[in-house]
């Protein structure tokens, strides 16, 4: 056994060191070399996961001897880590398969080095992510966390010739570091109080210190990564800038590292549970509702998806928040179902969001634009992409029989079950959450009918859309892996919910769950049954319709437009007009601005005019733009000292020396 563990460690170290060889491989083989390494690492870590899940050992310890640093890196895999490793492995692998087709056009105008950097960063993003979920020691954790931020930064700026992308990347890097500092402070506080900077020391710290304050520090640090509103400002910028396989991985799994961190801290929290639960719940509800509200008005497809990630993080957070409230009130069903719903949604979201990002990438590939107002009618030219996107949309809206429904159902049922036993205060909170979740569901449907309808249906809205062609098969095939998971979770949910229940009950020490878990499993079986009935009914009706229409006269003609037959594609409903009435009532949040010159009274023949409307992210304005402007203005004022005359500079030096002299003389310093 010991030998096998050592073998594991050695293999892992070999893979780590082999990554550097990427730089020395010929350009055309780099991809395959990276794929080989990635597959190796994925197989290795999957074996670890399997060992933990199969019950041979509850927790797997792997000691990596690092002679160069005279140190031992300890990787600890419990069930929570194993779950996250599984999620990471799947999305990263599919993402890399997809990257083959996506990167093809770049081979002509990008040199070998940028590919090396890209693949190297991809490998290290993967390795750092799996290490994040395995490392318990605070300092090493921060280092790996930092590697994750740096490698994702390098991936985002793949097309750094474009200055705006570089700028976005740097802004991303800065915001990641703000988060990192919060984590560092939190770990330092723990280290100071307990003498040990690690997740394991948290329990000791929480037993005799204020739980809420430290948790909030961790929550801000991890929340910036996860993208809770108002900490989300990097998300809608970085995702559109990155290549699509990277956005898929970042949105699918990297932001979940924040969720992992929050869960890892929550395991140790002992007091203030109700306060913490309500805080998480409130922030998550705001993230969920505002995230999707802002998504609706976006015109950039990838930005729309990025805002949707915020919404889904909100749903995950709602589950976690309810779980904590359940722990605080000794309501085991609420805990179990809330946490499980949240955790399962982590997996679900990693599936459908990466799928949607990949397809957004395929569309970008075919059209060289992300502006949905220029799309339309793509379903005819890109049928496979369209169907994949449609399934992703249905799943992300939480519609049965796909996977999104299962996690949302778990959260819902936890709340409905708790209503009759909850106190007044809790009842009001729970009902508010139910309303919020229902509203999120409705808004998501609004958002994705718009996205799918405007992008894929109707007539092409531009020349680019007319010329679009289906992408190559190597971009489509990998996505079938993702799709199959989406469908399996939707139709045979029990297979996945049972392990999730197991993870949650062990990790959070929930006892007496057999009754509630059994009831939920039987409910899910019924859901599978009804979903099956739904699928079968649909198929039967479709077949019947097919044969029925065969014997009838079918004719084709233009779309009905009130007898007017010379319509153009410009007369179609646009994304803006689709969101118009919604915009009307969402004004306070979105602050949509219209920019148009009014027609003056004396202007008898008005000249050409433009009309433009856009909505700002109000949080970005208040939290990032305003303070940065204020600070740079302050610095500008200080810059009057920079006169450029050498006499002044000598004077400054002289004043400084005088000051030092005086202060020392009076024993002040």
């Amino acid at each position: 056994m010991l030998f096998i563990l050592m073998m594991n460690a050695v293999l892992f170290l070999i893979i780590l060191s082999l990554t550097f060889l990427v730089f020395f491989i010929p350009k055309s083989y780099k991809y395959y070399y990276t794929l080989l390494l990635l597959t190796g690492a994925i197989v290795l870590s999957s074996v670890w996961c399997f060992k933990v899940f199969s019950g041979n050992c509850q927790v797997l310890d792997i000691h990596l001897e690092l002679p160069a640093f005279r140190n031992t890196l300890i990787l600890i895999i419990d069930r929570l880590s194993a779950f996250f490793i599984f999620v990471i492995n799947l999305t990263v692998f599919v993402g890399f398969l997809y990257a083959k087709g996506y990167l093809r056009p770049y081979y002509q105008n990008k040199n070998s080095l940028s590919f090396s950097i890209h693949f190297f960063s991809y490998l290290w993003l993967y390795l750092s992510m799996i290490m994040v979920v395995m490392i318990r020691d605070g300092l090493t954790f921060i280092i790996v966390w930092e590697i994750m931020a740096l490698s994702s930064f390098l991936l985002v700026i793949f097309e750094a010739e474009d200055r705006t992308i570089l700028k976005t990347g740097i802004s991303y890097l800065i915001q990641m570091h703000v988060g990192m500092f919060f984590l560092l402070i939190a770990f330092l506080l723990v280290g100071k109080a307990t003498g040990q900077m690690s997740f394991d020391a948290l329990r000791l710290y929480f037993s005799n210190h204020s739980n809420f304050l430290l948790f909030i520090l961790f929550f801000i640090g991890f929340g910036i990564k996860a993208g809770f509103i108002p900490l989300h400002t990097w998300l809608p910028e970085a995702h559109p800038a990155a290549p699509s396989h990277v956005s898929g991985v970042m949105s699918g799994v990297m932001i979940k590292m924040g969720i992992y961190g929050i869960l890892r801290v929550l395991i140790s929290v002992q007091n203030d549970l109700l306060l913490i639960g309500i805080t998480i719940l409130a922030i998550s509800l705001i993230s969920g509702i505002l995230g999707v509200m802002m998504a609706i008005v976006q015109h950039d497809l990838k930005r729309l998806l990025a805002y949707h990630s915020i919404e889904n993080i909100g749903i995950i957070g709602i589950g976690i928040g309810l779980g904590v409230i359940g722990m605080a009130t000794n309501n085991t069903p609420l805990s179990l179902l809330g946490f499980s719903g949240g955790l399962l949604h982590v997996f679900n979201h990693s599936l459908f969001k990466s799928l949607l990002f990949f397809n957004a990438g395929s569309i970008y590939h075919a059209m060289h634009t992300r502006n949905i107002e220029q799309m339309g009618g793509l379903m005819k030219s890109m049928p496979y992409t369209a169907i994949l996107f449609l399934i992703g949309s249905l799943a992300i809206c939480g519609l049965p029989p796909f996977n999104g429904f299962i996690s949302e159902y778990l959260i819902y049922i936890g709340m409905f079950k708790s209503l009759s036993v909850a106190s007044l205060f809790q009842s009001v909170i729970i009902l508010g959450t139910i309303v919020g979740l229902a509203l999120i569901g409705g808004l998501a449907i609004f958002c994705f009918t718009k996205a799918f309808g405007i992008v894929f249906l109707g007539e092409p809205r531009s020349e680019k859309a007319k010329m679009a062609k289906e992408v190559s098969n190597d971009m489509i095939f990998p996505q079938y892996i993702t799709i199959s998971f989406i469908v399996i979770i939707g139709l045979a949910s029990v297979l996945f919910v049972r392990p999730v229940f197991d993870i949650i009950s062990r990790v959070f020490n929930l006892t007496d769950i057999t009754l509630i878990a059994g009831a939920s499993i039987s409910n899910l079986t019924q859901i599978s049954l009804l979903s099956g009935v739904f699928v079968i009914t649909t198929v039967i009706l479709l077949v019947y319709r097919h044969y029925h229409l065969k014997s009838r006269q079918i004719s084709y003609g233009p779309t009905w437009s009130c007898g007017y037959s010379a319509g153009t594609s410009k007369q179609q409903y646009t994304a803006t007009s689709y969101a118009y009435n919604y915009n009307h009532i969402a004004k306070p949040v979105l602050q949509t601005k219209k920019i148009m010159r009014d027609i003056r009274e004396d202007e008898i023949f008005p000249d050409k005019r433009t009309f433009e409307s856009h909505s700002d992210d109000i949080f970005k304005k208040l939290l990032i733009d305003k303070p940065v402007n204020w600070f740079s203005n302050l610095l500008k004022k200080i810059a009057v000292m920079q006169t450029g005359q050498i006499q002044h500079y000598i004077l400054y030096a002289f004043v400084y020396m005088l000051l030092v002299f005086l202060l020392t003389y009076f024993n002040i310093i």
Binding site: L431, G441, G442, L457, W560
Partner: protein, 302 residues
């Protein structure tokens, strides 16, 4: 099973009763009760015209909507009998299944590339998004009151809690179900199905390009939806423990009364101004909150 058959039967004459009520109140002779069903027969026999712009989505959408409604039907209980499929939180499934059909109806409308249908699609998406919370508040209120979380359990324990105030929430439930049904089915005062101008329609304008068999499916779906909501209303006002034969009669009576109410509303009310609709729909949710507060008081939580 009886419930399922009853719902199917009542869907048969439901639209006819509405049409008949409207013709009587407006002083016309009007068509017979089974006229809408005959029209479906005509539609099924007819051929179809498809727009060149449309594709796969347009072809499959009516079928998916209808099969969603049929499956939603399976969780509705009747009298003391549990529904054919019943599980905790089945109303969540019910609501999301209807939403699934709606999703396809909306994108099918966008598939035609017509600005009229885009408009209808947008309104449908917008209004059904706003009405979603009302349904959930109402069901949450019931779940809190009875302590159960499936349609069958909630309705079979609705009246045996021995509460004297039972009428209050059964009337509120009845009222809210009517309102939700009107919005979900795009009837007055939110939408007027008999309006003649595309610009002022919601649901009708979405299906402008559907013809023949597909249109028949859409109509069947809409009739079924009516009788599903009728069955829900029935369940909140008639105790489940009553004699089953009496209940069958009462069920039919409630469905007919519901249809007559719709007919009367459509005869004597004008459609809301389009931009007042959000307010109207949010009011339904607000009434739901009132029901919630009442239940809080009844269960001694306040």
């Amino acid at each position: 099973m009886i419930g399922l058959i009853l719902i199917l039967i009542s869907a048969f004459f439901f639209p006819g009763v509405i049409v008949r009520t409207k013709s009587i109140t407006s002083g016309r002779r009007g068509p017979g009760i089974f006229q809408p069903i005959k029209e479906i027969g005509v539609l099924v026999r007819k051929g179809s015209v498809f727009s060149n712009t449309t594709g796969l989505v347009f072809q499959i959408a009516p079928v998916i909507s209808l099969s969603g409604i049929i499956c939603a039907l399976l969780v509705i209980p009747f009298a003391n009998q549990t529904a054919i499929i019943s599980f905790e939180g089945d109303f969540v499934f019910f609501s999301y299944l209807l939403a699934f059909g709606k999703f396809f109806a909306i994108i099918a409308a966008l598939d035609t590339g017509s600005s009229f249908e885009g408009m209808g699609a947008n309104r449908e998406a917008f209004f059904s998004m706003l009405v979603e919370p009302a349904f959930f508040i109402l069901l949450a209120t019931f779940a809190m009151f009875t302590g159960y979380t499936s349609f069958s359990d909630i309705f079979s324990h609705f009246f045996i809690t021995g509460n004297d105030y039972v009428l209050i929430y059964s009337i509120i439930g009845f009222y809210l179900f009517i309102q939700i049904a009107m919005v979900e089915n795009s009837r007055l005062p939110v939408d007027d199905p008999k309006t003649h101008l595309e610009l002022t329609m919601i649901h009708e304008v979405m299906i402008l390009d559907n013809s023949g068999f597909d249109k028949a499916l859409i109509h069947i779906g809409s009739y079924l939806k009516f009788s599903i909501y009728g069955a829900l209303m029935y369940n909140v006002i008639v105790p489940a423990a009553w004699n089953i034969f009496l209940q069958i009669v009462l069920f039919m009576a409630v469905q007919i009364i519901f249809a007559i109410i719709i007919g009367l509303i459509e005869s004597f009310r004008a459609r809301n101004k389009m931009n007042l609709n959000p307010k109207f729909i949010l009011t339904i949710s607000a009434i739901g909150w009132i029901a919630f507060v009442i239940i809080l008081i009844l269960t001694d939580k306040i």
